[in-house]
């Protein structure tokens, strides 16, 4: 008799593909939010699989803070070329120049919060009614309550007290004019699942995720990459260390971890033994205990 059991990765993949197809079927102008990070790279991989041999119907939308790792942009452009996907880039710098937002000042200044405005402006400009993101529920407590189809009002806001219940796999994508959905096909994946899938599917990731030597400095317990965007405070010193990144945001707030894991298999081994959560390296979440929830309410990724 045939064995119909499925591994957890097969089940997660089937679920994510189902959700991506629901977006294609229910939304008129969906976009896929592409950050250059592993989750969004994995999403593009799943989007290709979901519609093959037809092309993925989702243009990629990248909100560029201007503070990217150069490796991320190079990787992005190569992937887009391979996929022959449509890439739309909107710049936080343009939002600043137009006076939509004011740049933060001081040594801990980051454009991480500002990009919410650029994102919402871009969605309005593109009249996008669904924005697919790579967020996972295991990343952070506030995300644990997110829906697959997360409704946003006309101002892009999330109301955690008034979410639509999601029953079975029936996703209610109906909405009013000007409203949109954030859709999270990877909701049920954990960081380990992502890496196991990357290994299984031999998905290429930016070199930043693997051990390399880099000039870094220590701030609030995190290792930050030395870059022109982050001026050093008195007493901070640049050191060259063997590190890798577990998440890739912009250079101002993405912390590195000391690691010698140079391959996917080594990263998985490190993760299994790891005792620090993925976002523990993100300075942006540590601003307050409810930092993520506050940003999500306003329309953050």
């Amino acid at each position: 008799m045939t064995d119909y059991t499925r591994t957890h990765l097969q089940q997660l993949e089937a679920e994510a593909i189902y959700v991506l197809r629901e977006v294609a079927a229910q939304a008129e102008r969906p976009v896929l939010l592409f950050s250059g990070g592993k989750d969004s790279i994995l999403l593009t991989h799943l989007a290709r699989r979901a519609f093959w041999p037809a092309a993925s119907p989702f243009p990629l939308l990248h909100i560029d803070t201007g503070h990217n790792f150069p490796e991320t942009l190079a990787f992005r452009d190569r992937l887009v070329g391979q996929m022959q996907a449509q890439l739309i880039v909107r710049h936080v710098q343009d939002s600043i120049d137009r006076g939509r937002v004011t740049e933060e000042r001081g040594p801990t200044a980051s454009r991480n919060v500002l990009q919410t405005v650029t994102l919402l402006d871009a969605l309005a400009e593109l009249r996008a009614d669904a924005a697919i993101g790579g967020a996972r529920r295991d990343e952070e407590k506030a995300r644990a309550k997110e829906r697959f189809f997360s409704h946003r009002d006309r101002f892009g806001q999330w109301d955690p007290r008034n979410q639509r219940p999601e029953l079975w796999n029936l996703y209610n994508g109906r909405k009013g004019l000007g409203e949109h959905f954030r859709v999270f096909p990877l909701s049920n994946w954990t960081e380990l699942d992502i890496w196991q899938y990357v290994e299984q599917e031999r998905i290429e990731l930016p070199a930043l995720y693997f051990a390399h030597r880099r000039d870094v400095f220590r701030r609030d317990g995190a290792l930050l990459a030395a870059s022109p965007y982050v001026p050093l405070l008195p007493g901070e010193q640049i050191e060259n260390r063997l590190i890798r990144f577990r998440t890739i945001g912009d250079m101002t707030c993405t912390g590195a971890t000391e690691s010698a894991a140079a391959t996917v298999a080594e990263v998985i081994a490190e993760l299994v033994a790891s005792r620090t959560s993925e976002r523990g390296t993100r300075a942006d979440d540590k601003r307050s205990d409810a930092a993520m929830e506050d940003r999500k309410r306003q329309g953050y990724f």
Binding site: T2, K141, A144, P165, E166, W168, S274
Partner: protein, 640 residues
């Protein structure tokens, strides 16, 4: 780690220690990491708690941390070398039913917490009821806080016995009791030293070993189509997630609601062409033939088809602050199909605490009731108890777009009486237009006291209809009807023919030809035609039926759109010249009194559905014309 996946939900009242239990599971399975631990330790100290508050690991949002309770369904993840786990953590207060129904809808297992100090509460029973309602195959009753009752076996045994007695009234295939202390970790991950009398598994051991496939239907292949995929010009496939069952290339399939058949030519899985697809797999199916299939249709195996109905008896759980409005239309989302629907009747509300039925005018937030849903078109479904994927639906408010209710189909609904049937004529007409399928399967079992029109149409492969032939004697009514019946019979149609001459030998042998008797003749015939119509037949009635009033009566018995008046028109002189039975000659000799067209009037129809010119056209041509009309009227399938 190539284990499978278990989705479970946790249910407990405010102080049962549910969040603590989850925190304990996560902690002891090393799913809580150093920085998360540091944050919780700091928060515990900040609140002045003397111990590490495990609940802080799971209580997510700021509002609920401030209130000290959770407010929505939160999902947690952990894994052991055997299995990956997804916990749907649902809070236990006023919105409880709504949240638990949501969390339970995707769960394979439910953990229900009972506080050993407080015993089996009303809420504990409510949790069991909802879990059974949502068809969760495994239920674990975790009797918590055993440390506070001295780990006494008799406390555990008494609570287990009490709960088991209650649960015997519910449909719960697998019920397990575990004595534990979430706070101290007894029997959660590690076996407790304090319960030597307990030889069952720890909670984690049970979660790791419970059979996940129990809730998975691998028999009935159901494939709701999400969208059609067109790659290159000669590629066409249908994308979807297999709701249940399995399929392999080469198997014969049936598309619903069209009833078209074909074979699976290829299965494309995420990694490429596949030899089979099973429940849960997201695939693209290619078919051997070009069929017209789109989102919302369902592909099934040819000889194992779901039921089709536009009236559904269901259990409804109301999820919205705005109560059920029985005058309003809702959007029914069932599999990948959306259609309009309305609650045709609300039978009763179930008191979730006592399980008593009580009369209800509406359903409010968190209330559960039994209702009949009428939909704008037939849905292909299985009873929820047999198939969660094709038996569940949600109702959406068309104005606010909110998801207002969850529904579980019990069986096809019945049409209670004729006036109610008239009210659903529009839906019936749509059902006919959708050309129901023609399954010939032992697996099709229609439930309920009455077999619905839709169900009969689905099996017969055609709609029921009454074709009423009227015209002068000798105009050719019977000839045409007989010929048409032969053609229909050859197409596999369920036919029933009533002819004036025949009924007068038996059923109406007591009637003459007076106006009153002619009226009674037609009344009886019309009633018989109605019975046959209700049994799904295409009924052919050939009667002179000279009076408009009598034909109108016959029409009134049949739902609009299903009665077709056919005027077989032929000049009286031509009929008299044909005179196949010699009746005109006898009438003209005065041997037959009140002979229509000679000594009695014929009131020609002024709004017949079709007029057949039998004066100039041969019967064969008229039958061909009628067959074309039957297809145009969607009584017959276009490929018949």
């Amino acid at each position: 780690m190539s284990g499978d996946l278990l989705r479970f939900t946790t249910a407990g009242s405010v102080d049962d220690g549910k969040s603590t239990l989850i925190g304990r599971l996560l902690l002891d399975c090393r799913a809580i990491l150093e920085d998360q631990m540091a944050a919780v330790e700091a928060a515990s100290r900040g609140r002045g708690d003397p111990y590490l508050d495990l609940a802080l690991f799971t209580d997510g949002l700021r509002a609920e941390r401030e209130q000290g309770i959770t407010i929505d369904v939160a999902y947690r993840y952990f894994a052991t070398p055997r299995r990956k786990f997804i916990i749907a953590d649902t809070p236990g207060h006023i919105q409880y039913t709504r949240n638990m129904v949501t969390g339970a809808s995707t769960a394979d297992l439910a953990v229900i917490l009972i506080d050993a100090m407080r015993g089996v509460l009303t809420q504990s029973k409510r949790h069991g009821f909802i879990a059974s309602l949502l068809g969760i195959p495994h239920i674990v009753v975790a009797i918590n806080k055993m440390d506070l009752v001295g780990y006494r076996e008799e406390v555990f045994a008494a609570l287990a016995a009490e709960y088991r007695a209650f649960a015997s009234k519910l449909a719960i295939p697998d019920l397990t009791f575990i004595p534990l202390s979430a706070l101290r970790g007894d029997n959660v991950v590690a076996k407790s030293q304090h319960t030597p009398w307990y030889d069952g598994p720890t909670l984690l051991h049970h979660l790791e070993h419970v059979h996940v496939g129990a809730g998975r239907n691998l028999v009935d292949f159901r494939f709701p189509v999400q969208l059609a995929v067109r790659g290159h010009p000669d590629f066409r496939g249908y994308a979807g997630q297999v709701a249940s069952g399995t399929i392999t290339p080469g198997e014969e399939i049936l598309a619903l609601p069209s009833g078209q058949t074909s074979r699976v030519s290829e299965i494309i899985a995420p990694a490429g062409p596949a030899a089979e697809a099973a429940a849960g797999d997201s695939v693209i199916l290619r078919l051997a033939d070009e069929l017209d299939i789109s989102r919302g249709d369902m592909i099934v195996r040819r000889h194992n088809v779901p039921q089709m109905a536009d009236r559904l008896e269901c259990t409804l759980c109301w999820l919205s602050e705005t109560p059920l409005n029985r005058q309003a239309d809702y959007i029914v989302q069932h599999t990948t199909r959306q259609t309009r629907g309305r609650i045709a009747s609300l039978n009763y509300r179930i008191d979730v605490d006592t399980l008593h039925r009580e009369p209800a005018e509406t359903l409010r937030l968190n209330e559960i009731g039994r209702a009949t849903l009428a939909t704008g078109g037939p849905l292909a479904f299985d009873p929820y108890a047999l198939n969660r994927a094709t038996g569940g639906f949600i109702l959406i408010d068309p104005i606010s777009h909110a998801t207002v209710a969850a529904g579980m189909i019990r069986r096809a609904g019945t049409v209670a009486n004729f006036s109610e049937k008239l009210a659903t004529v529009a839906a019936d007409a749509e059902a006919v237009a959708l050309q129901p399928p023609r399954p010939h399967s032992r697996n099709v079992s229609w439930e309920g006291a009455t077999i619905t029109q839709t169900a009969r149409a689905a099996r017969n492969g055609h709609a029921a209809a009454v074709l009423w032939f009227t015209g002068l004697s000798g105009s050719g009514k019977s000839t045409i009807a007989r010929l048409l019946e032969q053609r229909l019979f050859a197409l596999g149609v369920q036919t029933f023919r009533l002819d004036g001459d025949n009924v007068r030998h038996g059923l109406n042998g007591d009637l003459g030809f007076s106006a009153a008797d002619r009226q009674e003749n037609i009344r009886r015939v019309a009633e018989v035609a109605k019975l046959a119509f209700e049994h799904g037949a295409i009924v052919l009635c050939s009667f002179i039926s000279p009076f408009r009033r009598d034909r109108a009566f016959a029409r009134s018995l049949i739902p609009a759109g299903c009665f077709f008046e056919i005027h077989v028109r032929c000049d009286a002189a031509t009929c008299a010249a044909r005179d196949p039975k010699g009746l005109y000659a006898r009438a003209q000799r005065g041997e037959i009194p009140e002979f229509t067209g000679v000594s009695a009037p014929y009131e020609a129809p002024d709004a017949a559905e079709i007029v057949l010119d039998s004066e100039t056209q041969p019967a064969e041509a008229l039958v061909a014309e009628l067959l074309a009309k039957l297809r145009a009227w969607d009584v017959l399938r276009t490929d018949d």
